[in-house]
């Protein structure tokens, strides 16, 4: 059913790097995925795996220089964002795609009233009067669950709590009714009760407004609760993709499995240690030739260090980028007997 829905955003073989004193950091290496209308897509991975850079690529928010695109296409409603002029991309930012940043404490301008910060989105967009703009701002503030909006509207960010600020951030992202919101770890800096409220709010908004959401997180709990589909990133690449259920119950990549294992569980016995994934992420100055995860992988085979793995399509949605799925690979608990071999994407 999901598959029939149209794609609102498509990333095709996006490569993004940064020039640094130490050389070129290849932060995003050949990433492709799509976001469909009205769905919540999760992107998981540990710190430094390229999640945030990928997300910011979509709105070209990475600082350039030092960042630059090494290739690929980002199609938003059929138009290539990378080919747009500054003026065109500014229309997309805020207007068509909203962005919620990680840290609400530092993401609001401390010297501006929050109301003005919400209304700013309408600057340079024609066809709305000042009165309408204010009404929209107040309405969206109510929608994101802020009480006493008239008073809040006139307050400064430092007068609001963290959860309140994140609601304001979401209000800013939502106020012009964009068709896509990108949330870059929106709840990492909030406590769990506020996190739950914010996640409920996002679900609710999707219901009411039909907005697509990209949810970037390293919290699998958030994924389980929110997302329709998930992509797992590692070392600047997508290593596994699929519906949330497939990922949780039918894990097909050792890295995803490692992530699942490292979750602290309620029934973990006292004194029992958490299971980390041993080792550190690959050096993106000179990424490994083979699979980026090979050095930390319990299932590592010779081929993993020599050739980048192919993509194996396991079901309509579920795909993994791991040599364990190859027909020549020895039997292992990851092997899913791929229905058909997908082309390398």
């Amino acid at each position: 059913m999901m598959a029939e829905k149209e794609n609102i955003l498509e990333l095709k073989n996006v490569v993004y790097s940064f020039h640094t004193y130490g050389g070129e950091v290849k932060a995003v290496r050949d990433v492709s995925f799509e976001v469909r209308k009205g769905e919540i897509l999760g992107i998981v991975g540990e710190s430094g795996c390229g999640k945030s850079v990928t997300a910011q690529c979509i709105l070209r928010l990475n600082p350039e220089p030092p960042g630059f695109f090494g290739g690929g296409e980002i199609l938003f409603k059929g138009q290539d964002i990378l080919k747009m002029s500054n003026k065109e991309i500014r229309k997309i930012r805020g207007g068509e795609i909203g962005f919620v940043f990680q840290d609400p404490m530092t993401s609001l301008n401390p010297t501006m009233r929050v109301g003005a910060q919400i209304e700013e989105v309408f600057l340079g967009r024609t066809g709305v009067t000042k009165k309408e703009v204010k009404d929209r701002a107040l309405e969206i503030m109510k929608l994101v669950g802020i009480s006493d909006v008239e008073k809040r509207y006139r307050q400064y960010p430092h007068e609001l709590s963290g959860g309140m600020k994140q609601r304001i951030m979401i209000a800013i992202a939502l106020v012009s009714r964009p068709s896509l919101i990108i949330c870059d770890e929106p709840t990492t800096s909030l406590d769990v009760t506020i996190e739950a409220q914010i996640l409920d709010l996002l679900l609710d908004l999707r219901e009411k407004l039909g907005t697509s959401i990209i949810m970037i997180t390293h919290d699998l709990g958030v994924i389980a609760r929110l997302c329709d589909r998930v992509i797992v990133m590692y070392g600047g690449k997508v290593v596994e993709r699929g519906t949330a259920d497939e990922l949780f119950y039918d894990t097909a990549h050792p890295y995803t499995k490692g992530l699942m294992n490292s979750i602290a569980k309620l029934d973990t016995a006292k004194g029992e240690k958490l299971q980390p994934i041993e080792g550190t992420p690959p050096d993106l100055f000179s990424p490994p030739v083979g699979c980026p995860f090979a050095a930390r992988c319990d299932y590592c085979m010779d081929v993993c260090n020599e050739m980048p793995p192919e993509v194996y399509q396991l079901t309509d949605e579920h795909a993994t980028c791991c040599w364990l799925q190859h027909e020549m690979a020895p039997d292992n608990d990851m092997k899913k007997k791929p229905e058909k071999k997908g082309e390398v994407r």
Partner: protein, 306 residues
């Protein structure tokens, strides 16, 4: 806000009181006395001392002085014996202040613009040019700057008068010479402060809202970057407005600077005290204004609002 201001004012008054007391006793620790010229006979000197009350116990002198000070009376100068300190300040301060205000307007406006331009064009030629101006400004002393300006604009090209203070064209060179250092430091501070703000998260938020670069700079960066500039501006305003000895000497401007320096050489107690208290009050006032302006620029500083 009222409570905040009251607190600041009380602190300012206490500061001035402490300043007067310390300076009053310190000047008396300086070697020499006001009336030690070889030309004065012993009797004349004694007469002078008793006329100014120096024969009384020091504590009594102190209380008398404080009493007069409360009435705004700085007493008579001991060098220019027929003039009060109030009169001298009244005569000279307007010149110093006039020059200072011109220099400040020049320094702050150009300094801010240079700083902003440099930060916006970081690493490019324009940035380099602005930084160069800042380095030259901070490293060339004002008397050399003044002399250079006089030489080129006054003598070599004959565009502007070299000295005196008689009309607008006379004010240009000394104001430039005086402004240069402040201009350089303002632009340097503004540049680094702008760069710091540029990497803040809320600038990225502003960009994600689809705002133009101009709007981001004007509305989001400048206001957040201006605080450090305001901090240095308080003391700078006080020192620039109350006159600088060197610039006033080079350009033959009848300002306060000369009297301040001379008073120390002359052991002119009343002048030293008067000038110091005047300068001190001015400095405290400038800092007070800056403190209050902080609250205007940054809502987080506003205390006890409501």
């Amino acid at each position: 806000m009222l409570k905040y201001v009251t607190k600041r004012v009380v602190a300012a008054i206490l500061t001035v009181f402490a300043l007067v007391t310390i300076v009053f006793f310190l000047v008396r620790l300086m070697p020499g006395e006001p009336f030690t010229s070889a030309k004065l006979t012993k009797e004349v000197a004694e007469n002078m001392n008793s006329y100014y009350g120096f024969d009384k116990p020091i504590l009594e002198q102190y209380f008398t002085y404080m009493g007069n000070l409360l009435h705004g009376n700085f007493g008579y100068s001991m060098k220019y014996t027929n003039k009060t300190v109030n009169y001298i300040i009244g005569q000279t301060f307007p010149f110093s202040a006039d020059l200072g205000i011109r220099a400040l307007c020049l320094a702050v406006s150009i300094g801010l613009v240079l700083g902003i331009i440099a930060a916006r064009n970081r690493g490019k030629k324009l940035d380099f040019a602005c930084v160069l101006i800042a380095i030259v400004g901070t490293s060339i002393p004002d008397f050399i700057m003044g002399a250079l300006l006089q030489y080129f604009f006054g003598i070599k090209w004959g565009l502007l008068p070299v000295a005196k203070y008689l009309g607008f064209e006379y004010t240009i060179l000394p104001a430039c010479a005086l402004a240069f250092y402040t201009l350089a430091s303002v632009s340097r501070i503004m540049r680094s402060s702008m760069l710091e703000v540029t990497s803040q998260d809320y600038i990225k938020t502003a960009r994600s809202k689809g705002l133009s670069e101009l709007r981001i700079t004007c509305k989001h960066q400048i206001r957040n970057a201006i605080m450090p500039v305001m901090t240095v501006l308080g003391p700078t305003v006080a020192s620039v407005l109350t006159g600088t000895f060197v610039i006033e000497a080079i350009f033959a401007i009848p300002g306060m600077g000369k009297y301040y320096v001379e008073s120390v050489n002359n052991n002119d107690y009343a002048m030293i005290l008067g000038m110091t208290v005047f300068y001190g009050c001015f400095l405290v006032l400038c800092n007070l204004i800056v403190d209050i302006l902080y609250g205007v620029a940054d809502p987080r500083v506003r205390i006890g609002k409501r």
